[in-house]
Amino acid sequence: MTASAALNLFDIVALRREFPILNQSVNGKTLAFLDSAASSQKPRRVIDCLEDYYRRYNANVHRGIYRLSEEATFAFERARGKVARFINASSQREIVFVRNTTEAINLVARSWGDANLRKGDRILLSIMEHHSNLLPWQMLAQRTGAKLEFLPIDGEGRLMLDNLDAQLAGVRIVAITQQSNVLGTINPVAEIAQRAHAVGALVLVDGAQSVPHMPVDVQALGIDFLAFSGHKMCGPTGIGVLWGRRAILEQMPPFLGGGSMIKVVGLYESTYADIPARFEAGTPAIAEAIALGEAVDFLQEIGMDRIYAHERELLGYALERLSEVEGLRVYGPATTEMRGGAVSFTLDNVHPHDVAAVLDNEGIAVRAGHHCAQPLHAHYDIPATTRASFYLYNIPEEVDRLVAALHKARTLFG
């Protein structure tokens, strides 16, 4: 078995001890958390970081001329810098703090979209998109009269790019996930960006499932926007990131109006702040942003390459072991090539909800449902799947427990 090599990448036992939540029993069994694609667990230092802010220097940012506020502002802006370096942004002004991936994409659809799209313009998506990278564009299309176009997928759940150039005709923006939250497919966004730019279209990448799991370099990818969430990458909920190319962000009108996003305010009109403040109306999630910076430090100290390699080994082992389960069908690529560690499957005669309930009884946490990707499930003509997803703290033994519990489910409902 190859999974032992993954363990050598870092000391997994020590690493797991960093996550207090993993040290607990569920239904009398050690918790096996296989739902990190929905939300990851948090290491102690991220939890401590939140508490430290509230205990020691809680104050609003960019406002007070007193020490606590200066300290909070410094930590908040330092977190912005950490995030910028993490994805190799050319400037930390390109980092806009938002609540999550969903808000980041809505920001672009509202701000850039409303200002730039006209009736008849096209927006290119794929059928594997999460609802958060579909609904904002549907709503934009309804407001502007723009048309939606979708890249299809093949039998293995990979994007079919044979007709990409034809599909790009009249397209103003391509919005695509870097890694499917259902299929695990990793999409060739650099190639798509190159071909999209050739026709003058912008490219937004939904990085919710990629940024936590692999090295992502926005300049190397050659994209225009990247959206991702803190809570899927060991950070807190309520904080997410929109990265945008400076020249594009600078041309965009504000998204929400309010405090912080202004220069001079009059009763009838106002001027707006430079980026990124222009897009950060109101008091931000200060503790959460600072703790996201801590999560970034944590991930970088381990190394995104090593995290990716570890998950890939685990994924390979899982695909192999799951193939032993009779009546089980995995959706998405059959190998670890250009594939991340989200594994969705169906089990003959056992509904995903029932699978998840049997697994829960064994202390195994997975997600069952449509994973906010109803059109993708409609494509496969299934109402739901069960999804196991891996992160840096998962171990081969948890895959073994998953497989054993699936055999149990087959026996119970068979």
Binding site: H351, A357, A368, H370, Q374, F413
Partner: protein, 132 residues
């Protein structure tokens, strides 16, 4: 596990009593659970204010399908006015799931009752779970 997947539920899931459609239903309703994509359709035959036959169709988890099987079995011979009053507590007692169970699974169990009431009260009147 035992309290959720008791023999009765597994039995009704594997061998549903009244799965299918009625040829000329007097009432027919379908409801969905948007959380998981489950769906249940219930057809009723009504004579002189009494439910004389019932069938269910749909797809979903063991809980929702077993619940539909047991509910359709239960309401045959029941006056419509009595079926309209059939409560959430009565349904959960019928299928043997404790009220304090995981709310997501309670939602699965209640889908057939919601469908029944939507049918009896008329289109567009599907009650919320709290109103069942």
């Amino acid at each position: 596990m035992d309290d959720l997947y008791r023999e009765l539920i597994l039995e009704h899931y594997k061998h549903p009593r009244r799965r299918g459609r009625l040829e000329r239903p007097d009432v027919s309703a379908e409801e969905h659970n948007p959380l998981c994509g489950d769906r249940v359709r219930i057809d009723l035959q009504i004579e002189n204010g009494v439910i004389t036959d019932a069938r269910f169709d749909g797809r979903g988890c063991a809980i929702s399908q077993a619940s539909a099987s047991m509910l359709t079995d239960e309401i045959i011979g029941m006056p419509v006015e009595q079926a309209k009053q059939f409560s959430k507590e009565q349904l959960l007692a019928l299928i043997g799931i404790p009220l304090n169970h995981n709310p997501v699974r309670i939602k699965c169990a209640l889908l057939p009752l919601k469908t029944l009431k939507a049918g009896l009260y008329g289109v567009g009147h599907a009650p919320d779970d709290d109103e069942l």
